[in-house]
Symmetry: C2
Subunit: 499 residues, 2 copies
């Protein structure tokens, strides 16, 4: 085969995978949004079969050989080379696990998820603990098959955020601990900001009417994006021109659905902006969990919590809720949106205390894999750490160790990227603000000016470049956590008059 | 292989097909309800690939051989035998067409559909005519490959309604013509029934609130059914416990969405009630187009247009629309819902004139395949027949020959089942009313009593029995068109005081 023939075979393989991925994405979105519960078992069995078909295509040893050959060909264009390298890693990391162990692990994750659900409902960590222990053992075994000389937890961290490891995360979280713990204490002790008006009765149908306005403002265009509702908001899609997001409305909270809408639209916009030539290939996604989260948090925290954003949008919100917000000034509203208060549940945490929730999870994960922390008594370890870092203690496990789903399916190494994303965003925003007038764009209803900057400097690459390369190209320097900490200190010092 | 081994192989084949069908159903529902338009091309290409994968499994020659062997084994249970016979016909009717011609035909149907859309938008039949001609030629060729000695159009009729042919349809439509044409004339000349209050302004959000009540009344349970909105209402699903319907709301019409909701729930209930052991097999569907339509029309016309139905539901509707319906009595409302008026568009036609729309299409299809009617000038032929049978003439082709999609993709032989379904329903309802107190059930909010009768006598069989067998078992006699005509004559003689 000459290069062209090889490429044709390769592209056909990529296309076949993309067809199954499209189907699985649509089935997954349907399941989470509208599919009737009683049909789950029927659909899930068939979804598992189709996943198996995809797995067989993905791990085709003949394709691994073909990819090796392609990579040896010096005439291979750089984009295909990059994609082929990523596919090679994907195949290698999967095929090294014996298939029966792979299937067994999938089943364990399923029953572990069910145990977690039951444990959370019954507020009983002891139901989940034996599963958590098994999941950790299985994950260890799976990573050992890779035969890498990198320590296991470092490999996990690297999977979600290529290039990251414990050393770098230790430095990152160390800096956070050093500057945020005292800042949070000062905020907690300061005079509190009034925000009770955010939690009056806000009829959901009226909230939805405002969301329509908001989606238009964000340029989340119905031609390529669709928003639905779910208990746990998410973003998924089939290609750059087909992104789906969800949000969740709370009757007694006007800001929750707004921020979750903006957050998910941040994820969706990132993927929508990826070069459409990459559609259907491994390049068509955000490059890492941290980068993805940086874009959703950038939208949510760095844009949608600014005064400029609300200068444009608050009049419409007030008009929608004249009784609840008619006498609340713009400044009062923006201050309330930015309130910081230590709390127990990560997904409800504010911008300032959020990274501490992640720090706790990172320290526990590290301890679990280094052997210094055990799954036994982990609920108490968890509560002690919340007390230490945030000064709060859960009264029930559902608001403590059982609050998050992530460990039940073995997603270790994922949490840290949540905090990293916020820090990435700070550095991006600082650069963006030096090049365009962000506030003017937000104030005058030109959100697309911000999106265009992000597209040009971050989004359009997809997975062509690594996160650190994008950071360097976009901001002219390496990632520096101090931009994030400076931003938080500055913002909360002003809001709580800490000077 | 012994019988058990053969059955295992056969069941595995059935399961694999069902997985692809599940995926294609979900992708199709998603496409018609929420999928963003700009992603169509990406999804459609991959959907076509997955359809091809299904086609390859379906037409596996090894499976045809296995099925033949199974059918020769006298120990095969009767349900599997029936399914295997249906699969054998499915495979035979498909594999007899050379694959390149099959693919070419699919492409022609696609471009023909696009031409129809354009023609309808531009009100120009000449854009669609050449495609229609080609589609007819291709359909003829495809049926010739089957090598059956049945005339072509009879084969098409038999495909949608096994056992039906021109002779039987001629008798059926002949009876309709004889008794309905004069009845429609008398209704048209009689004093008209007031129904203008149905067409006031009815805000869609209020209509939706009533639909929620209605779906609960119909026992369309969210655990197994989900309703969405589309331009053209439809029903589809993945298994008995996962049915999806859609409806369409019109701001100036309170009854349209109600009747389309009930109609689609009729289809959905039929499939939901099929024995769940048949899930994933060829037995898990309505047995024929006519039987499917009989259930949707039974719900829509024979139940939801009765006084008893509205005795239970009208108070809630009035409460939802006090200004529009507050002074309209129950009797006035029920009379209005049953108004008959000759009109141009099939999908908007009333119960009485509806079958004449179908009669016209049947006569045209028959003429097209017998060679007595040409696609050239067919728009005029169409208009002349509407003038003859209904006394109305379309001013534009979009309300005339271009109104329906069916011919653009070669669905010839399908239309007649629409009228047949209404007639089947009349005979079923007559029997049901002799066995249970339908009005009492409807009046007291026990719709499930009707559903249970239909499930026991019709639905649960799925495709285990042919339509005529079900008719005979359920009503004790062969299908008899006179029950339908008696019903219509009786109903409209009373409503329009024709005595």
């Amino acid at each position: 085969m000459n290069l062209n023939e090889k490429l044709q075979k390769y592209n056909d393989w990529v296309f076949r995978m993309s067809a199954y991925r499209m189907a699985l994405a649509v089935i997954g979105i349907d399941k989470l949004t509208v599919a009737p519960e009683a049909g789950s078992d029927y659909r899930d069995k068939r979804t598992a079969f189709l996943s198996g078909e995809l797995f067989s295509i993905e791990t085709d040893p003949e394709m691994l050989k073909l990819i090796e050959e392609l990579l040896e060909d010096e005439n291979l264009d750089s984009e295909t080379r990059r994609a082929a390298e990523l596919y090679r890693k994907m195949i290698h990391d999967t095929v090294c696990i014996p298939k029966d162990e792979y299937v067994e692990a999938m089943e364990l994750m399923n029953s572990s998820y069910n145990a977690w659900l039951e444990a959370k409902m019954k507020n009983d960590y002891s139901i989940f603990e034996p599963y958590l222990k098994k999941v950790i053992a299985v994950k260890k075994k799976q990573y050992e098959y890779r035969g890498s000389d990198m320590p296991l937890y470092d490999q996990m961290l690297d999977d979600y955020e290529p290039g990251m490891n414990r050393e770098k995360y230790d430095a990152f979280f160390g800096a956070l601990k050093e500057r945020l713990v005292p800042l949070i204490r000062r905020v907690t002790e300061a005079e509190q900001v009034e925000d009770s008006f955010l939690y009056l009765n806000y009829p959901v149908s009226d909230q939805k009417a405002f969301t329509d306005t908001l989606l238009a403002y964000l340029h989340f265009d119905p031609s390529w994006g669709y928003q639905n509702e779910t208990e746990h908001p998410f973003t998924n899609g089939t290609c750059s021109n087909d992104m789906r997001t969800t949000t969740k409305y709370l009757e007694n909270n006007v800001i929750s659905a707004i921020l979750s809408t903006v957050h998910e639209v941040g994820h969706a916009t990132y993927q929508h902006d990826v070069d459409p030539r990459y559609d259907g290939t491994i390049l068509a996604d955000g490059i890492s969990s941290g980068m993805h989260e940086s874009q959703s948090r950038l939208f949510e925290n760095y844009l949608a919590k600014t005064k400029a954003f609300w200068e444009c949008n608050y009049p419409a919100l007030q008009k929608q809720f004249p009784q609840q917000l008619g006498s609340v000034s713009l400044d009062q509203f923006v201050d309330a949106v930015n309130v910081a208060k230590p709390s127990l549940v990560r997904t409800e945490a504010d911008e300032l205390t959020y990274p501490m929730h992640i720090l706790i999870r990172y320290e526990i994960e590290k301890g679990l894999f280094e052997g210094t922390i055990s799954t036994e008594g982990l609920d108490k370890t968890w509560d002690d750490m919340y007390e230490k870092y945030l000064g709060v203690r859960a009264e029930k496990a559902s608001a403590g160790i059982l609050q998050d789903v992530h460990w039940s399916d073995g997603s270790f190494g994922y949490f840290p990227t949540y905090a990293l994303g916020s820090a990435f965003a700070a550095q991006f925003v600082r650069k963006m603000r030096s090049e365009i007038d962000v506030d003017e764009a937000l104030r005058t209803g030109h959100f697309e000016i911000c999106v265009n900057w992000l597209k040009e400097h971050i989004h359009h690459y997809g997975c062509l470049l690594e996160a650190d390369e994008i950071m360097k190209k976009a901001t002219g320097e390496e990632f520096n956590v101090n931009y994030y900490l400076d931003y938080l200190e500055d913002k909360y010092t002003k809001l709580y008059h800490l000077d």
